[in-house]
């Protein structure tokens, strides 16, 4: 079990190993039919500037308008894909960037996800910083807890 990286409130970083070559993983990240099966139904097309929409799932602590507007920003076949993710929300919309990075690892692929652009000043982030800064604060406790649960 691992805990979220609470070090940088603006970014979510997750990575995983997939026992498939980058070409296979790349296809799953860019083929609309495959995307619909694991990510979200969307009209994705691999083309810089292409705009597509995502029907998003409600999460209680982010206000969702239900539809997110995305745009392909940059890609390098089988290595990197970046798209903008704009969630209009009601009064706390999200302007963020999602970056996939693929690195060959053995006969498989290490897939890195970085979701950047969260508001470090939302009430939770602000409160956690105020209360839990310092060496014995939130980060210290969470890091130790993550170690204990690993």
């Amino acid at each position: 079990m691992s805990l979220p990286d609470v070090g940088d409130p603006r970014t979510v970083r997750v990575d995983t190993f997939l026992p498939y070559p980058p070409a296979r993983v790349w296809r799953a990240l860019t083929d609309p039919e495959l995307l619909a099966r694991w990510f979200l139904p969307c009209d994705f097309r691999l083309e810089v500037g292409h705009r597509f929409t995502l029907a998003t799932e409600p999460r209680p602590n982010v206000r969702f308008a239900g539809v997110s507007h995305c745009e392909v920003l940059e890609f390098e076949v089988e290595r990197m894909l970046r798209f903008g993710w704009h969630d209009p929300g009601e009064d706390n919309g999200l302007d963020s960037t999602v970056t996939w990075r693929l690195e060959p690892e053995g006969t498989g692929t290490r897939l890195f996800l970085e979701h950047d652009g969260f508001d470090p000043d939302n009430p939770y982030q602000a409160m956690s910083r105020r209360i839990m800064g310092g060496p014995n604060g939130w980060n210290g406790v969470l890091a130790r807890l993550a170690g204990a649960l690993a």
């Binding site: 995983t16 495959l34 694991w38 939770y124 409160m127 807890l145």
Partner: protein
């Protein structure tokens, strides 16, 4: 904000209670053992433990006349989830991606 998250924040707002949680990271401890780390009187330490218990951050077990406390990770994990709502979303998506690749492989 939900009451549960507010309660956890309130519980963590005290340096004494954070220190208690830190001590419990190493494992279960008795009240006496915990109290020995603080200059304050034992009833004050017990009061802080009560707050942690009521928030669900620690659990108490009795062994004869002795009370022992242990850390309960749930509320902290829940709070982390609130701080990073997308974290769980992406972990779930990555798990689904793995499943789809496995299915493709079998096909």
């Amino acid at each position: 904000m939900t009451a549960a998250v507010d309660d956890v924040f309130a519980a963590l707002a005290s340096p004494v209670r954070r220190e208690l949680l830190r001590l419990l990271l190493d494992g279960e401890r008795t009240v006496n053992d915990l109290a020995a780390h603080f200059a304050m009187a034992r009833p004050s330490v017990s009061e802080h433990l009560r707050v942690l218990r009521e928030t669900g951050l620690v659990a108490e077990t009795r062994h004869g006349r002795e009370r022992r406390y242990r850390l309960e990770p749930g509320p902290l994990m829940g709070l982390a989830d609130w701080l990073h709502p997308y974290e769980r979303f992406w972990r779930r998506k990555l798990a689904d991606l793995r499943t789809v690749l496995d299915e493709e492989d079998d096909a």
